[in-house]
Amino acid sequence: MTVTVTTTINGDHEEFVCEADETLLDALRDHLGLTGSKEGCGTGDCGACSVMLDGRLVCACLVLAAEAEGRRVETIEGMAEGGELHPLQQKFLDAAALQCGICTPGFLVAAKALLERNPDPSETEVRYWLAGNLCRCTGYDKIVRAVLDTAAEMRSA
């Protein structure tokens, strides 16, 4: 069974056709050319496919594409404003808070969601919020510090 889905992705109206058992992650990557969201585990453990669905942080690998009908999806591709990187993106670059980069889009989407809810998180709050995002390169320290530093800069901006 194929399903026609009409949805909003990064503010743009989108329509696509998918199989009923296809995930939102596969639809984003294979039908819409939005390959920023990555598949790490495909079971909701690693967070590399983190996207916002109606304002909630979710794993796109655990959402059926058909569920996006009429919903609002935000992906890493919508994070920069035109040519200007989001402060988190810039900080991750400046602080080398990534190595291979596969987990980075998920971390950025998740960290942005955190700072929108809590502009002044403690280190513990950052670590718990990001516990669903796995990184096998950095040891997390640079990522956590980059999020805390960005939060501090955004508060004083």
Partner: protein, 288 residues
């Protein structure tokens, strides 16, 4: 596979009842999608219940709360009245998975996935929660501990599904708590879980108790003898020690990669005792 997203309970029942092959209900999908993708399940029909308003609301009812089966853990944690009344149920739900999982995972799904290690089930059972089941013959209420039959099995007839859960009015002097053991601080599956709900009178004497155990049997265990032993006590050290011994005796754990039989039997007593102390403090109005 066919995907349907009906907007009424009746339409969902009609779809589920009308499917001759395997039909599955989709709430948060955090278990179902993993099962679909691994090939464990190949349903002919998936019915997404999230567009049915009744499954997505937390309503006040009879002094308690009616929680839609597709309400998420994050939404439960953001509901101040629910957190104030049933902190043990909410903390059990919030222990499940990451921020991403909390944005999707539901108490209805946790119950119906019927994992012996499901965190929110012992907490719900201790709280005396019931599930509203809708089906071709109308709707019925069933105690959550009676819904689960065994690992991955629930007692539902064709066409039936869980539409909501009901938590009763929290009585004066009542408090609940849930604790689990995992070998790290979070993001893991319970090796052992224990939910306790207590009612104390003005003198701090226990007048009612429910104790429910997770991951120490094929389904949630309502430790009725252990709970009865608390009634009439002031939950002093001797009463808590007796509770620990009685819950360990009630447990029927297996050996598996998460823990041995002996370890689980020991730890379930420790957790029941600690959860009872937290529930006692909450019943007495202390924030814990």
């Amino acid at each position: 596979m066919r995907y349907e997203a009906p907007e009424t309970l009746d339409a969902a029942v009609a779809l589920l009842a009308g499917e001759s092959g395997v039909a599955k209900v989709l709430a948060g999908g955090t278990d179902l999608l993993v099962q679909l993708r691994s090939g464990m399940l190949e349903p002919a029909l998936v019915v997404d219940i999230k567009r049915i308003p009744e499954t997505r609301r937390i309503d006040a009812e009879a002094g308690g709360f009616r929680i839609g089966a597709a309400v998420t853990g994050a939404e439960m944690g953001e509901h101040e009245e629910l957190v104030a009344a049933w902190p043990g149920v909410v903390e059990a739900m919030e222990l499940i998975g990451s921020t991403q999982i909390q944005g999707r995972a539901t108490p209805g799904g946790n119950l119906c996935n019927a994992s012996p290690a499901a965190d929110c089930v012992p907490a719900l059972a201790a709280a005396g929660a019931t599930a509203r089941i809708v089906g071709p013959d109308g709707s019925r209420e069933l105690a959550v501990e009676d819904l689960v039959e065994g690992p991955g099995k629930i007692r539902l007839k064709r066409g039936e599904f869980v539409a909501s859960l009901f938590l009763p009015e929290r009585a004066a002097g009542q408090g609940d708590a849930y604790l689990r053991f995992i070998p790290r601080t979070e993001m893991d599956i319970a090796v052992v879980g224990a939910g306790v709900c207590l009612t104390l009178d003005g003198d701090g004497r226990c007048t009612a108790a429910r104790v429910a155990l997770g991951a120490v049997g094929p389904r949630v265990i309502l430790a009725e003898e252990a709970a009865a032993g608390l009634v009439g006590t002031t939950l002093d050290e001797a009463a808590l020690e007796a509770l620990a011994a009685a819950t360990s005796a009630a447990a029927t754990p297996i050996d598996d990669k998460r823990g041995t039989t002996d370890f689980r039997r020991k730890v379930v007593g420790v957790l029941a005792r600690r959860a009872a102390a937290v529930a006692r403090d909450r019943a007495q109005g202390e924030k814990a």
